[in-house]
Amino acid sequence: MTRLLTRRLVAIPVTLLAVSVLVFLATEVLPGDVARTVLGREASDASVADLRRSLGLDDALPVRYAHWLGRFVHGDWGTSYTLKVPVRELVLGRLGNSLLLAAFAFLLLVPIALGLGLLAGLHHDKPTDRVISVVGLALGATPEFVTGVILLVVFAVQLKWFPASAQANPGAGLLVRLDHLVLPAVSLVLLCTGYVARHVRASTVAAVESPYVRAAELRGASRSQVVRRHVLRNSTVPATSALGVQAQFLIGGLVAVELLFNYPGVGALLLQSAVDKDLPTLQAAAVVLGLLYMLIMLLVDVTYRLLDPRLRREVHA
């Protein structure tokens, strides 16, 4: 386990570095001039040249990267070219919003997906299973903005149970904020459940049909005893990686939902800064997200090793 941890902890900064280099190069290579984008098409060439100079855009590539890296590591993430605000507050603020939505959706996702997957697996090939599987499949294939739109029409417009915008008024309490987040969270949960539930179903079926469950039945255990003692653990642990994948998606992959529900999250920020070639914001957001993703993957691997005894130690024999 320590070997895994050290290996990963070394890999993370290396990968982040690679990511930042990649983003840097990408924005350079591509058409479009940041200065012109900021100042607009009608701006004079002179003012554009001035802006370029002041932003240091005429320096050599490696120099610019080194400058950026030096400042970034010390906490100075620069100022957004387009929004003119400090990048760090901007990115972290947006990130906070995204994390709130992600956490809400994730907390709903885990019990629902595990529960449905178990149910489908325990009754596999019977009507309950067919319904859960088909519905999960259909919802998992449908883009979240599509389900979001339908939810909006039904629950926000017609029934008026929930607000149409995900952003609460500033200073609102947690419950009010969550109330605004219900519809986007539900559309996300509908999307993600299918994928996770399918995995849980598969491992449940494998457990139910396994030799050790058969052996337990042959020893006279009742169905509920068998499920409780043997199936539960062996069917839910493999879902860890599926849940990890969804967690990654929920952080930063929610551009569509953020746009649909007018929610100031980090996904929309990422998109906007890419379109505007707002390099400091883009870099910062990409690096922060990359870090989060790798931490999630690490967490998944560690959790797996903790939960599955087979992975814990070297086999003796």
Partner: protein, 289 residues
């Protein structure tokens, strides 16, 4: 009896394999899916003959008209017929997604085969690159690159296709590794078969199931990605009847003209669900074999 029958009988007798009838699904899912997909493909091909109006034609006096006999799904803010726009919107998605899927499949299969068959440093290298690339979920990477590279059909196909190469590579590599360890591959090695023959003649036919499942799953993903990209404004030209763009353009009018938003949304849903049903039926069929 043949070995397959023998083994099946034994497997059935020992209860290891689920008996054939118990797991036979009626092909409803497959039929429904096929109808949905087939239907949209036909519409994408023939919509000029099917649409009652020109999707770009504006009827200024009939803005936000509710569904009626003249306009089955009403009109939008420019008075354009929603039904015609819905039909026309099928083509952009169905042009991009299959091409992107094909790209992902060919590239991913070749790389995955190479990694699994060669092993050792080739595999290590490919895996490290994959790990680095896979840090970001495919959707995010596609969004970033399309945003930066600009939108055109070529860019969309390339970006979406390449975004899914790592996933395909992983699956194909995993399946290849399983076959690679089998004695028949070692026997081929022992008689000196060259690398390309090992990959394409020995191993590829035996991982065709995996490849087929990947093809159908990635097609669904590609449609998903194309729709999402056009929704967030990175699709093709503005004003096109592309479904995702239509949803985005019209979402301000959820309150007073919900049909303008719901029709493209439901069109997307029906297509992706159709593809997913077909993909799942294929997967179930291939697993049972």
């Amino acid at each position: 009896m043949t070995a397959v029958q023998e083994r099946r009988a034994v497997a059935v007798a020992t209860g290891v394999a689920a008996p054939p009838t118990a797991r036979r699904r009626r092909p409803i899912a497959l039929s429904v899916g096929a109808v949905l997909v087939g239907g949209w493909v036909l519409i994408a091909a023939f919509w000029p003959y099917l649409a009652p109006y020109d999707p770009q034609r504006q009827h200024p006096t009939l803005r936000f008209a509710a569904p009626s006999g003249a306009h089955w799904l009403g009109t939008d803010q420019f008075g354009r017929d929603t039904f015609s726009r819905m039909l026309a919107g099928a083509r952009p998605v169905l042009e991009i997604a299959p091409l992107a899927t094909g790209l992902a499949l060919i590239a991913g299969t070749l790389i995955g085969l190479l990694a699994g068959t060669c092993g050792r440093w080739v595999d290590e290298l490919i895996m490290r690159v994959l790990d680095a690339v896979l840090v970001f979920p495919a959707i995010i990477a596609s969004i970033l690159f399309v945003a930066m590279l600009g939108r055109s059909v070529t860019v969309l196909v390339l970006v979406i296709g390449l975004a899914f190469v790592p996933i395909v590579t992983r699956s194909v590599r995993a399946a290849t590794l399983v076959e690679r360890q089998q004695p028949y591959v070692e026997a081929a090695l022992l008689r000196g078969e060259p690398l390309w023959s090992l990959m394409l003649r020995e191993i590829l036919p035996n991982i065709s199931r995996t490849v087929l499942v990947e093809a159908t799953s990635r097609l669904g993903d590609a449609i998903f990605a194309a729709a999402t990209l056009s929704f967030i404004g990175l699709g093709q030209q503005p004003g096109s009847p592309d479904w995702g763009a239509s949803v985005s353009d019209n979402r301000a009018y959820l309150q007073n003209a919900p049909w303008t938003v719901l029709s493209p949304a439901l069109a997307i849903a029906s297509l992706v669900i159709g593809v997913a049903l077909v993909a799942d039926s294929l997967r179930a069929r291939l697993d049972a074999r």
